[in-house]
Amino acid sequence: MSEVDPQIPFMIEVRGLSCGYRDTVILRDVSFSVRRGEIYFVVGRSGCGKSTLLRNLIGLETPLAGEVCFDGENVGNAGHETRRAMLRRMGVLYQSAALWSTMTVAENVALPLEEHTTLSRREIRELVFVKLGMVGLAAAADRYPAELSGGMRKRAGLARALGLDPEILFFDEPSAGLDPVSARNLDHLILQTRESLGTTILVVSHDLESICTVADHVIMLGRDEKTVIAEGRPRDLIRDSGNPHASEFFQSGLITFGEPKKESP
């Protein structure tokens, strides 16, 4: 992983974001910035508000306070049309892949193209196969989501998210529910996407191995603190995160992977 050049402009800027539902605050005063082309991980234990943060970033929920800027433009106070234009520049891979179950994989990938471009039906079909080829799913184009394995579904979801050549990609728990091999394949695809398209990628995850192999930069959300408790490059955080909860999280992998388990007496 290369060092991120400080000259590169910020693609996502989050300032003082608080989110939650009516009476309950789930996250407060979260601020971070993601540079163009960076792979940024938001990590934390289950229930710390990672997914809520993501839903606020992609506009499915309105933040209680703070602002979210994409490419210098504040989405919070943007009108409907600007917001729609902003959404066109983003792709999201949901935790459950969220493929539309009444449509085949190819139709799933084609729908955003039909909605947002003026391409002909044949061009769209060709483009769909290009996108499916990128994730290695061209052979499954005419199958329905229910006939696919978990890993294939996620890859189809990625192909759909890549449809409109997004500048920012969001991943919600990409390795959740996948076997280790499929999870590593997906990690590889994330890296490949950045290499080939220069996409800025924000991943919400708690998979330590993904974090170590893919992330350029990591922030960790605390479940009790309700805000960012550690920030930095993954290897620095594993060495010393400066927060006991964060250290517990980052060191938990070392016990199982790093050293052999001690035999109990």
């Binding site: 992609i58 499915l60 066109r88 935790q95 969220a98 539309w100 955003p112 909605e115 449809g163």
Partner: protein, 342 residues
């Protein structure tokens, strides 16, 4: 074996539990021992546990801890009546707001559709038409036929006393075309199609598919609701015409078969009785019933909780809402038509 040292409610000095010699045990022993401990605490006598296996002792401690944690929750009083009423009221208001938002969005979606009708999902719409219309023909037909039959029998009992059996044709024809045809069709649509709309959309919501639509800039209204609504608005009147025909046929079978009215007399009488305005009134109602059934199904689906239980509730609620609105609308139309003279 465990010796039952705790017996009836007598005066105890001490309760002793001896689990020595037990080599295999399961949760029932844990339950038994913890009940004894509680009993002893109630009687305020010391309880001595002997020879407890280590694991059991640990489990017992944990059970005691979680019980005291749960006990404090029990002690919390429920919300007062005022709070409950207030919350209900707030919920009802929010529900009304959601209906209004839904209709507003529907209108906007309709305008968008009119502007770029090429992008409208005609293929989905056709599938819904097939499901609601063609595949509903047998059940709509059967029920309408039977309703016509029942009406004819009821009418015959009264009219026979005056020797006016021929007016069975008027009564059946008018009540089927004006009321029973549109209403029975709508109720069947609510049960068959409205419920399936709510279940489909609720499931999509559970699976984040609706979030995916929104983040890809596809409006759920355009993609999910409008095709369903258009399908039902087109199918409800067609099904109603079909239901009307079969309802009249039901009356005809009774009239000709039982009441010995001649076939031509029955048809002539029906034609004389049913005016074009009766037919039109029924069809106008059926269009609105179609809108209501589609709206209730889609809205309840969109409101559903993200769980299988939530989807089930949404389905039930879609049918109940639709039938309720159908009856209310029908009552409104009865008054309106009387005023206008249809």
């Amino acid at each position: 074996m465990v010796k039952r040292s705790a017996g009836r409610r007598e005066k105890f000095q001490e309760i002793r539990v001896d689990v020595g010699g037990v080599d295999s045990w399961d949760s029932s022993l844990l339950l038994f021992v913890s009940q004894i401990r509680k009993y002893a605490a109630e009687l305020n006598v010391p309880c001595n546990m002997e020879n407890l296996p280590d694991l059991l002792r640990n489990l017992l401690e944990q059970a005691g801890e979680s019980e005291s944690a749960g006990g404090s929750q029990d002690a919390m009083a429920g919300p007062s009546l005022l709070v409950v009423l207030g919350e209900r009221f707030e919920k009802t208001l929010a529900g009304g707001g959601q209906w209004l938002t839904f209709w507003g969005e529907c209108l906007l979606g309709g305008l968008r559709m009119a502007r770029r009708w090429r992008k409208f999902r005609w293929r989905d719409c056709l599938i819904f038409m097939q499901q609601a219309g063609a595949m509903g023909l047998p059940i709509v037909g059967l029920i309408s036929f039977l309703v016509g039959l029942i009406l004819a029998y009821q009418a015959a009992i009264q009219l026979r006393e005056y020797g006016a059996e021929i007016f069975v044709a008027n009564l059946v024809g008018l009540s089927v075309v004006r009321e029973m045809g549109p209403m029975m069709t709508a109720v069947i649509l609510a049960g068959r199609t409205g419920a399936s709309f709510a279940a489909q959309i609720g499931n999509m919501k559970m699976n984040e598919e609706i979030d995916a639509l929104e983040t890809l800039g596809v409006h759920p209204m355009d993609f999910l609701v409008l095709p369903r609504m258009v399908a039902l608005v087109m199918m409800a009147p067609l099904l109603t015409i079909y239901a009307n025909l079969l309802g009249i046929l039901g009356g005809y079978v009774v009239g000709v078969g039982q009441l010995e009215i001649s076939s031509s007399a029955y048809w002539y009488q029906s034609q004389e009785a049913i005016g074009l305005n009766d037919l039109a009134g029924g069809l106008i109602k059926s269009v609105l019933f179609g809108v209501v059934v589609a709206a209730a199904g889609c809205l309840r689906g969109l409101q559903s909780d993200r769980s299988s239980e939530g989807v089930g509730r949404a389905t039930t609620s879609a049918v109940v809402t639709a039938i309720f609105l159908i009856i209310v609308l029908d009552a409104g139309f009865a008054v309106l038509f009387e005023r206008v003279g249809i």
